[in-house]
């Protein structure tokens, strides 16, 4: 082993400008690096200092060889030194060929030990300069050293770099590392990088065909670009590459659809949250609450106020402000709803069209009130750390805030179902929905149930506001932008059936998002609205109509 690097390092007779010879030497060198690092003990001793001292030269060829040799030396600081050389912060003292590097603070450090070298005047040192040949040697060395770095993230990044550069010189290093790579992710990246490097090399066709197949399996856009941009290959490889591009395109199209469906579910969950409270009030009381959107807005502003209060008084709790905002928003909106019911809506029962107008007036008043208090501009509500960012799942980008909103909407839906089915209040509510007068005769206080129902529906709208504050601008117009969609959901799903609301919200969300790439966002929305208008002509009572005589009135 030592003998082999000896051959590579101490053979000045090999013509350094001969390309093939240089390539071979670099391959041998990188191989040796890997083996050398695997057993660094073998390279200990005087050789180490010698390898660093060899850098102290102004001859570029010598320097390049010294770089390659340094990589083989097993010097623990080799990567740092080579990077310093690349960055131009490596200096040497001509007298004793000692090498130093300048750290970020401008202090001189001994390259061999990494310790601050006291009393070394920068003026006595000469910086090491590099040319293209040295730079290539540096890059190869850094690549090879990174590929065998103990940190898997560094190895992964190095593999990605090779994938992009398609440098055939990296193949031996990759092979060596692949032989002992244990991390599956890094392994995959290295296999793809090796395949890319094979395509960039002068290897035989069967190796290249295998490489094309492997890259096609990787299936992302980078792989597609690589295959599509392949030049100077034989007919068979070119055909395989074209087939690979087609396969990747199919896969990407599938992924896009999956991604659109995810966006659709995300939009659907937002619609569900906004509409579910409406479904409760409309379903039970036949009341069209045009101020429902403003209840959502109140919830969003409550979230904003809670967050601001915490920012000022309890910054350490900021990440959990939503935990406080959720119940508070529910209470604020529910209270507002109860007030509205007592002050306005109860006088208008049996006159749905007038209720619609009065609540619309209310929505204007609430909007203007919020505009007067908080100003007309958008308010910033931050995402807590556990809701920011995204991760990739099989090629589909999943953002945390959207995911949490889907989860939250499901919790709200099932929580509401529990209330309706398992509590005395829910029983009373369902009784009033089905037959108001009979329920009254059985001793249910229908006015109280109405009030509580309206409060419940509004409170759920407040919860929707908390969720919306995480993905949308909190502004006085927040509610308005959702009210028409919410009505569509309720009308589409049928009144008085939460499953209908769920199905309708998800259908609308997904159809909207699937139409968007085909027709554009605006046209898609128009198409959905028109489809809905046509649907209502066919089924005026929605997907899941409430059965019974009461609804006919």
């Amino acid at each position: 082993m030592v003998a082999r690097w000896g051959t590579a390092g101490h053979s000045p007779g090999v013509p350094s400008l001969c390309t093939a010879g240089r390539a071979v030497r670099r391959i041998v060198a990188t191989l040796a690096i890997l083996l050398g690092l695997a057993a660094p003990a073998a390279a200990q001793g005087g050789v180490q200092g010698e390898a660093i001292r060899a850098l102290a030269t102004t001859n570029f060829d010598e320097l390049a060889r010294a770089v390659e040799r340094l990589a083989l030396s097993g010097e623990p600081n080799a990567l740092g030194i080579v990077e310093a050389l690349r960055d131009g912060t490596l200096l040497f003292r001509q007298a004793d060929r000692a090498v130093f590097w300048r750290d970020a603070q401008g202090r001189m450090r001994d390259a061999a030990t990494g310790e601050v070298a006291e009393g070394v005047a920068p003026a006595a040192l000469r910086p090491l300069r590099v040319n293209n040949r040295v730079r290539r040697a540096i890059d190869a060395t850094i690549g090879a050293l990174s590929l065998s770095n103990p940190d898997p993230r560094v190895r992964l990044a190095a593999a990605e770099r090779v994938f992009r550069s398609r440098d055939p010189d990296a193949i031996p290093a990759l092979d060596a590392q692949l032989a002992r790579e244990t991390e599956a992710r890094v392994r995959h990246a290295m296999e793809a990088a090796r395949a890319a490097a094979v395509l960039g090399s002068a290897m035989a066709d069967d190796a290249k065909l295998a490489a094309v197949a492997l890259i096609a399996r990787r299936g992302d856009l980078e792989a597609r670009n690589l295959l599509a941009g392949l030049a100077g290959v034989s007919e068979a490889v070119a055909q395989a590459a074209a087939a690979g591009v087609a396969a990747i395109d199919r896969r990407q199209a599938m992924l896009r659809i999956v991604q659109d469906i995810y966006y659709g579910i995300s939009l659907g969950s937002v619609l569900l949250l906004a509409a579910i409270g409406l479904a409760v009030t409309f379903g039970t009381m036949g009341v069209i609450n045009m101020a429902h959107g403003e209840m959502v807005m109140l919830g969003a502003y409550t979230t904003f106020v809670v967050q601001e209060a915490m920012r000022r008084n309890a910054p350490w709790l900021l990440d959990w402000s939503l935990a406080f905002a959720v119940p508070l928003a529910f209470l604020v909106s529910a209270l507002a709803g109860a007030l509205v019911e007592r002050l306005i809506i109860r006088f208008l029962y049996g006159r749905p069209l007038e209720t619609l107008l009065a609540t619309f007036g209310l929505s204007l008043v609430l909007q203007q009130a919020v505009r007067t208090i908080f100003g007309p501009n958008n308010r910033e509500v931050g995402n807590p750390s556990w809701m920011s960012g995204a991760f990739e799942l099989g090629g589909v980008l999943v953002t945390w805030n959207r995911l949490w909103i889907i989860v939250f909407s499901m919790i709200v839906l099932f929580g509401l179902m529990l209330v309706l089915r398992r509590t005395a209040f829910g029983l009373a509510m369902r009784a009033v929905t089905q037959n108001r007068r009979m329920a009254g005769s059985m001793g249910i206080r229908t006015p109280w149930v109405d009030c509580m129902t309206f409060a419940l529906g509004s409170g759920v709208a407040g919860l929707a506001g908390v969720a919306l504050s995480q993905i949308d601008n909190v502004s006085p117009n927040l509610g308005q932008s959702y009210i028409i969609d919410s009505f569509m959901v309720v009308v589409f799903g049928g009144v008085g059936n939460l499953w209908g609301t769920l199905v309708a919200a998800m259908t609308l969300g997904i159809v909207n998002k699937l139409l968007e790439p085909i027709a554009g966002a605006v046209l898609g929305k128009i198409v959905v609205l028109l489809l809905l208008v046509l649907f209502i002509q066919r089924k005026p009572r929605g997907l899941f109509p409430l059965k019974g005589r009461a609804v006919e009135s």
Binding site: G286, I288, I344, F347, L348, R351, P352, L353, E354, T355, L356, L357, A358, F360, G361, L362, S363, L364, V365, L366, Q367, Q368, A369, R371, T372, I484, F487, M488, V491, V522, L523, K525, I526, L529, L530, L532, V533, L534, I536, Q537, R538, P540
Partner: protein, 371 residues
């Protein structure tokens, strides 16, 4: 006929007031020089013309809502389409005097790099054709929409919500540049109509008088309709649709006729509105505008015809006052008006007067209540 037309004293009174005030404003503007005590400034002329267009729109809404029980939250779509028909005519009349100087294409099409006029712009250089379209397009839309909706027995709040969706969808569509209606800038920069510049006082007074005549005609048509046999059935449909059906009538036909007439009136109102305000853009289709128009009728008193005109003018006078003097109060006032009118005077101003009169004249036949 004669009795039907003049039997409602309130309608007659409102018609006379409209005629007199409209005439007086026009004369005051043209006959008296600026500085004279009797001079009426030009902006008052334009403003009054605008109010009259709103009054015509409100009349249409009153016909379907007050008499047919159909609460349309999308009448802005008919108003806007009528306005766009007129706007297209006015655009064609600009001719080569646009900023880009193209002989045929309006400026926005040149800007969008269009090479020729889309087919649906053909014919709009003719005034008669444009006016026909201003009535035909809203009428046909109302017919198609009403035919489907009434046949499926979509009624009540469901109908209100889908009319709202209709106008919302139209707004989104007209915001698109490739629709060929000027995108969100709409149509503007008009110059002349029927050979007269739009910027002269004479033209403004002419448009005001035209609007006044349109309102009078609208009142007459609506009055004749509701006083006829047709109107009686329509009222019955509003109050008990199922019973009317069981008596052998087809309620959907009656509602459809009322909706189409109402849409045509809205279309005419839109066509008269555009040259007076000088612009039409997709925000006319905003659901908010349609709902605002409904509240004019509610404030004035629905099912009275006179109330629609009174409400439209009264609310818009308030709006003009608030938006110029106290803009931040306007939404409070409008919202409060919605709530208070529905809670306290469900019959509106004119409805309240009628009820008070009836109470004094004991023994008079009970008038139809609200739906």
């Amino acid at each position: 006929m004669r009795t039907a037309l003049f039997s409602d004293r309130l309608v007659v009174a409102v018609a006379i007031i409209v005629a007199l005030v409209t005439f007086a404003i026009g004369i005051g503007n043209l006959a008296f020089p600026p500085g004279s005590v009797l001079h009426v400034p030009t902006y008052v002329v334009s403003l009054s013309g605008k109010y009259l267009c709103y009054a015509l729109l409100a009349l249409g809404i009153d016909l379907v809502w007050g008499y047919g029980g159909i609460l349309s939250l999308g009448h802005g779509v008919f108003f806007g389409l009528g306005g766009y028909a007129m706007g297209m005519h006015l655009m064609r009349l600009i001719g080569p005097r646009g900023v880009y100087g193209h002989a045929v294409l309006p400026d926005f099409m040149v800007f969008l790099n269009w090479k020729e006029l889309p087919w649906y712009w053909y014919g709009f250089d003719s005034f008669a054709f444009a006016m026909l379209m201003a009535m035909l397009v809203p009428g046909l839309l109302a017919f198609g929409f009403g035919f489907l909706a009434f046949r499926a027995r979509v009624s009540g709040v469901y109908l209100s919500i889908i009319t709202q969706a209709l106008t919302f969808a139209t707004m989104l569509a007209f915001f698109r540049n490739d629709m060929g209606f000027g995108g969100n800038n709409g149509l503007t920069d008009f110059r002349e109509l029927l050979g007269f510049s739009l910027r002269t006082d004479e033209m403004r007074v002419g448009l005001l008088w035209a609007s006044g005549v349109a309102v009078l005609l609208g009142l007459a048509v609506c009055r004749l309709m509701v006083a006829s046999r047709f109107g009686k059935v329509l009222l019955a449909v509003r109050d008990a649709e199922a019973r009317v059906r069981f008596l052998g009538y087809r309620p959907e036909s009656y509602k459809l006729v009322a909706l189409v007439v109402s849409a045509v009136m809205a279309g005419i109102a839109g066509a008269l509105y555009v040259p007076q305000v000088g612009i039409i853009n997709p925000s006319e289709f905003a659901p908010m505008n349609s709902i605002e128009a409904v509240i004019w009728v509610a404030v004035g008193g629905r099912g009275t015809l006179a109330g629609a005109v009174v409400g439209a003018v009264a609310v818009n006078l308030l709006k003009t006052f608030f938006t110029t003097r106290l803009p931040e109060i306007w939404l409070f006032a409008l919202g409060g008006l919605f709530i208070l009118v529905t809670l306290l005077i469900p019959r509106g101003i004119v409805g309240g007067i009628v009820t008070a009169e009836r109470r004094r004249a004991v023994g008079a036949a009970p008038i139809a209540g609200p739906a």
